[in-house]
Amino acid sequence: MIEKYAEIIGEDELDSIVKIAEKLKGVSVLHVNSTPSGGGVAEILSKLVPLMRELGIETDWKVIRGDKDFFTVTKSFHNSLQNGFGELPKGAFEIYNKWQEINGNELDLDYDIIFIHDPQPAGLIKFRKKGKWIWRCHIDISNPYEPVWNFLKQYVQQYDSIIISSPVFGRDDLIKPQYIVPPSIDPLSIKNRPIPEITVRRILYKFDVDPDRPIITQVSRFDRAKDPLGVIKTYKLVKRHTDVQLVYVGSPASDDPEGEIVYNETVQAAGSDKDIKLLMLPPNSDLEINAFQRGATIVMQKSIKEGFGLTVSEALWKEKPVIGGNTGGIPLQVINNVTGYLVTTPEEAAHYTLYLLRNTNIRERLGKNGKEHVRKNFLITRELRDYLMVASLTGSQQTPT
């Protein structure tokens, strides 16, 4: 499987991964997270674990268990760490600790290197028997709700190293190394692999989108952080000058009660304009998302607050210029006038959208740069290499010969 990536990243890069993996020969590695499927962490582990094994590293993946109360608590942790405020269920810390105890006693944690993913299993560090422990934090912890962070920090401080997704998420109150490993996309997945033009057109037709007219696309939940109203306003500002369609591709989130309210607000803002398509696709609509991104003239990710925003990399990989909100991990992906434009207001977004709609050659240049930027920085092979390096560095320090 791993050799299939050589065509994309080049033999040198793949060879480097093999060489770095050799440093971990004979080392046992364990990944622990809280779900076997669904969500970005499970998705990345389902790819990384087989690749690590293919490289000859003895790698296992274990999932903690918990009851409804536990996952309600960890969900409240997740939200309050990212949003800076929160309401915790009664007895949250006790419930959390109880399930760390249960999992700590049930799971075999006898490995040389252990990656613990996200806050849910972070307390397992109490049950360390041996080896080096790495806490991989996939979320934004730069502005957390202090009571939750202080509770979690007592565990995080015990790890040998920490992985964050962007320097923007770095914390000044941690002593241990905070390695920066951005997330990644898999170029061979259905969401990102090349698909025939006819598939793109067929899917656009299916949703009543005209593939022969310019299209602005945003793929994200109906969430205020993604600024759907700002996207509608941007479209309306652009529409005064030129013919264009807007496709906003979202998916229903059962765990987000605000989603429906935001969706209704967006519908109201869109009014009766037939060139605005507000779509709710079921989860795992990977082929459709691929088609909407490839069918777009310009992709927008006009977030006001964002974790990393991998939809940006997905679009760049398809050679689309991206107009992105200047927040979270988006500036790592959207580089002004290189891969797209960073904006904060609908007026700025409209300005650059119009500029790009008028200039095919600029779109093409940014699109090509974008693909190259993702190829070098945001593919799964880079994330694999980074994990190997962090494991190697955490295991032992090196100095040049």
């Binding site: 480097s16 060489k19 770095i20 320097p167 920066i180 200047n326 500036p331 002004n336 962090v390």
Partner: protein, 220 residues
Amino acid sequence: MISKELLDKPAQKPFEFEAAYYPPKYAGIKAYTVDELISGIKRVDGLSIFYHIFHPLFSSHVIPEDMHNDFAVWIRDEIHDSRLAQIISDIEGKEPRTVEDVREDLLKILTENKVSGRASRPFYFVSCNPVIFKTGKVARNLGELIDIIATISMRSIAYHFIFKRVMGYTTKNDFSIWIEENYGLKELADSLSSIDPQTYTDEEKLREDLIRKIEEVIFS
């Protein structure tokens, strides 16, 4: 002109090509103003200076082509002072300078050209740890060294040509040291040493210039 015989003459000690990646880590310091940037530059380790000044060339953080390092980009885009950004962009990184010399220059320039203004996005200081590995490629003579430089990953060239020297592990780049020690070709060694890697934003252009310098001496 260097003879074919010399190109094929076995070296006393083969050149073993290594390569390195530099996984970044947050240095725990951020700056919103030039004063805070100065304070951060004083506090960070040498690897952080390496990361922000030399690493953009061969790493994958794309920076705009007209700016040579991370500090310059931030000063231009966040402090909105193009003149200072240009001066910082063109800071000298040629042999025998190390990251400590560069740090000194940065501090001098920033102190002498103090500008006000507060960034909306801070400068995040990042450091790194090298992960070094053997590439398996070995040059046994000068001809092979040239062939490998022309084709090997830039990660390897950067490690031998930039990293070890700017971090102070050697006083010259590894290629010049090897050429001089094994063949006594001081002119060629000095010619390579004259390249300032800090002023490149395209790693392949650096490779082209290395090869061009070698050709100039060999065919002169």
